[in-house]
Amino acid sequence: MACKQKGRTASDSRTAKDMVMVLYITESGPNSVRAVANLEAICKEHSQHNFRLEIIDVLQYPLRALADGVVVTPSLAKLFPLPAATVVGSLSDKSGVLRALGIAE
């Protein structure tokens, strides 16, 4: 699959404790770069969770984003566990991100 991935892809076998996310970015876009960095920091801070992150560059795969209902980048989509959630922007609002992911601060 031609996309950037962190850890294993979403299609890999996952457990009930896994949190599956997709980050849609525009490579080299300043907000996308910041979003990747912010999400990395959050994942590291809450490493007790088993994060499964897939990063997709919409410049290469715009149709994938449209298929997932994403129209702006950067956008973080939490796919699992339900309920699904989407965060738009550079993910600099850490509380908002954790809230969307269902992680207690």
């Binding site: 876009g29 300043p30 907000n31 919409v58 290469q60 715009p62 449209l66 702006v72 980048t73 738009v88």
Partner: protein, 628 residues
């Protein structure tokens, strides 16, 4: 595939352009959070659901442009040349730092395929393989090509390429990069084959070099060493790889025997690490000339078998200069020691022959009365041929301008003839009647630029004279000329003295010499005094000399250093007879003008005096008779 569509700049805030841009964006983005994020400037791109394209927002657009520029810059550092091919593999563009350097550009590569260019390391099979790769649209990496430029410079290039496809996945050609890897290739070649590199360096050295192992066997030689044997055959120079250098010197014979023993001993010391360096100067005789070499043997240490390096330095020029200087001194000494012209000529000719390695020399003197150059003296090595040649030379004469000797006399310039075609100044035709040898050197003997004779040398080792030799032989000719002229003057003086002495003897009975106190120091001839008895006495103290008034006047003349003539003295013998003598003398002075005595002659005038006495007595008797 890049499907981003950068929007045109939204323009300054508040302008129509900016407003229409936002309107277009908000038409696409309907969600509240997304709109808020756009307003907050936290969005990089929007995906247009209608077209499926990503639309870059201005900040992301600028970042992408900067990133591409940076990437291009970095890529530019990694290669020398970027190129593109069309679908038929023909170059359609090229650019890069080495456009001017690699030579392809000047060859005109646009429109040509890679295999149309001047590349000399790819065989037909190699090109077939490469073209197959292209047909398969495969990425190729580091295809190494070698190109020889117009100046003969070899350049190595490494080229890599990947296929290009359009939106419809149609093949459009190739694009790729080329790097100049010449320096790397050369360095790798040196690293791969260091012995070959070392050999190239050794071969490039001007000095002949051989490397010996601990037994003296030659391990390797350089090109100059191998050439030396062809130009200077002799002991030590013809030793090939595998031969033992020590054995060659041990077996040296003839003139090289002494050198061989010394050199072998020195090399053994170096091989045994008893000394670090051994140097020796030795002569090398070839049929045409004599050369000198400074042999140097330097010890080596290490794990390899090499133990010593032998090198030769040609010191012939220096040696010849030293020999010529020595020759000038030898000639000066010969002339100082010689008391005759013959002795001087023989010693000088011999010294020149022995120093220069010539076989014989002859001196022709100008006979002014006859107007010809006449053979005077010669010297030659002990050889039947040379002796025969010199014997034929006796009585030989040359007119000025005739033959080599005559031409030298006329021009006052040296002439020489070398062996065969090496001849320079002097035709063989001119020399042929004079010599039987292959080479000759003739130079003038001069006095104040006037030629009084010529020296003619013959030998098989006559070489082209250099400035040192010309100067030395000119100096020798001048020294010899002055000596011969002086000797000629001495001979003339001696002859004149002899003639004068003979005349003196005819005109007097004896001659005498006195010291400063007028005491006789020498009495030669028929003197009336017994010689041993009168030496140390003055004339007036000689026994039996009659003292009379005349002596006082004579003494006053002597005291005044006057010459005197016909002073008469009388000796009264015991039996009563008287003898009469006349002496004449001249004062003698030394070179400093100091009076040293008198010299003069004596004549027995007894008969004349007796006749005078008898005449006076007869006259007296006649007068008396007449008076009576």
């Amino acid at each position: 595939m890049d499907r981003a569509i950068p929007l045109t700049s939204p323009g300054p805030p508040g302008t129509d352009v900016e407003r229409s841009f936002k309107k277009a964006i908000l038409r696409v983005v309907k969600g509240g959070p997304a709109r808020l994020a756009i307003e907050a400037g936290e969005i990089d791109a929007i995906i247009d659901p209608g077209s499926g394209n990503a639309i870059l927002l201005p900040a992301a657009q600028r970042a992408l442009i900067e990133r591409k520029a940076g990437f291009r810059s970095l890529v530019g550092l990694a290669f020398d040349w970027y190129w593109e091919l069309d679908e038929r593999y023909r170059f359609i563009s090229h650019q890069g730092a080495s456009d001017d350097a690699d030579g392809f550009a000047e060859e005109g590569m646009i429109g040509k395929t890679l295999w149309d260019l001047s590349i000399d390391n790819m065989s037909d099979a190699d090109w077939r393989t490469h073209r197959q790769q292209l047909e398969w649209r495969a990425i190729f990496r580091d295809l190494e090509i070698r190109r020889v430029g117009r100046t003969g410079e070899v350049r190595y290039l490494s080229t890599s390429g990947e296929p290009i496809f359009d939106d419809r996945n149609q093949f459009k050609g190739y694009r790729g990069i080329t790097r100049d890897i010449t320096e790397r290739r050369q360095a790798e070649a040196l690293m791969r084959d260091p012995p070959r590199f070392d050999r190239a360096i050794v071969d490039a050295l001007e000095a002949p070099i051989a490397v010996l192992d601990e037994t003296g066997a030659v391990l390797t030689t350089n090109q100059a060493w191998r050439t030396l044997v062809t130009t200077h055959p002799g002991a030590g120079t013809g030793v090939a790889v595998g031969s033992n250098y020590l054995v060659v010197w041990d077996g040296a014979c003839g003139d090289e025997r002494v050198d061989g023993k010394s050199i072998a001993a020195g090399i053994r010391q170096v091989l045994a690490a008893e000394r670090a360096v051994f140097r020796y100067e030795c002569a090398c005789n070839s049929p045409s000339e004599r050369s000198w070499f400074a042999l140097s043997v330097t010890g080596m240490s290490g794990n390899d078998p090499a133990r010593a390096v032998v090198s030769y330095e040609d010191i012939t020029e220096r040696k010849r200069g030293e020999l010529l200087l020595g020759l000038e001194l030898t000639v000066a000494r010969c002339l100082a020691d010689a008391d005759t012209a013959t002795v001087a000529l023989l010693s000088v000719i011999r010294a020149i022959c022995e120093t220069q390695g010539w076989d014989c020399g002859r001196y022709f003197c100008m006979d002014q009365s006859a107007g010809v150059l006449r053979f005077v003296e010669s010297w030659g090595i002990s050889s039947a041929v040379i002796e025969q040649f010199l014997a034929k030379s006796r009585g030989m004469v040359f007119r000025p301008g005739a033959g080599l000797a005559g031409r030298v006399y006329q021009s006052a310039q040296p002439l020489w003839r070398l062996d065969g075609p090496r001849g320079a100044r002097g035709s063989s035709m001119a020399l042929a009647p004079e010599t039987s040898k292959s080479g000759a050197y003739v130079f003038p003997v001069t006095v104040d630029d006037k030629v009084i004779g010529v020296l003619d040398f013959c030998g098989s080792k006559v070489r082209e004279p250099d400035d040192h030799m010309l100067h030395a032989l000119r100096s020798i000719g001048s020294q010899l000329g002055r000596f011969l002229l002086r000797q000629q003057a001495v001979n003339t003086l001696r002859v004149n003295e002899m003639r004068f002495r003979v005349l003196t003897n005819l005109a007097s009975d004896w001659h005498w010499e006195q010291d400063g106190n007028f005491r006789l120091t020498q009495v030669v001839g028929c003197s009336p005094f017994g010689t041993p008895d009168v030496l140390g006495l003055t004339h007036w103290d000689v026994p039996l000399v009659v003292a009379d008034a005349g002596w006082a006047e004579h003494k006053s003349q002597l005291a005044a250093r006057w010459s005197f003539c016909d002073f008469e003295l009388t000796i009264a013998h015991a039996e009563g007879k008287r003898a009469h003598y006349s002496i004449s003398g001249e004062p003698v002075y030394d070179e400093a003008g100091v009076f040293t005595g008198y010299c003069g002659i004596g004549i027995d005038i007894t008969l004349r005096k007796r006749a005078e006495i008898e005449l006076r007595e007869s006259e007296a008797r006649l007068r008396a008779r007449l008076a009576r």
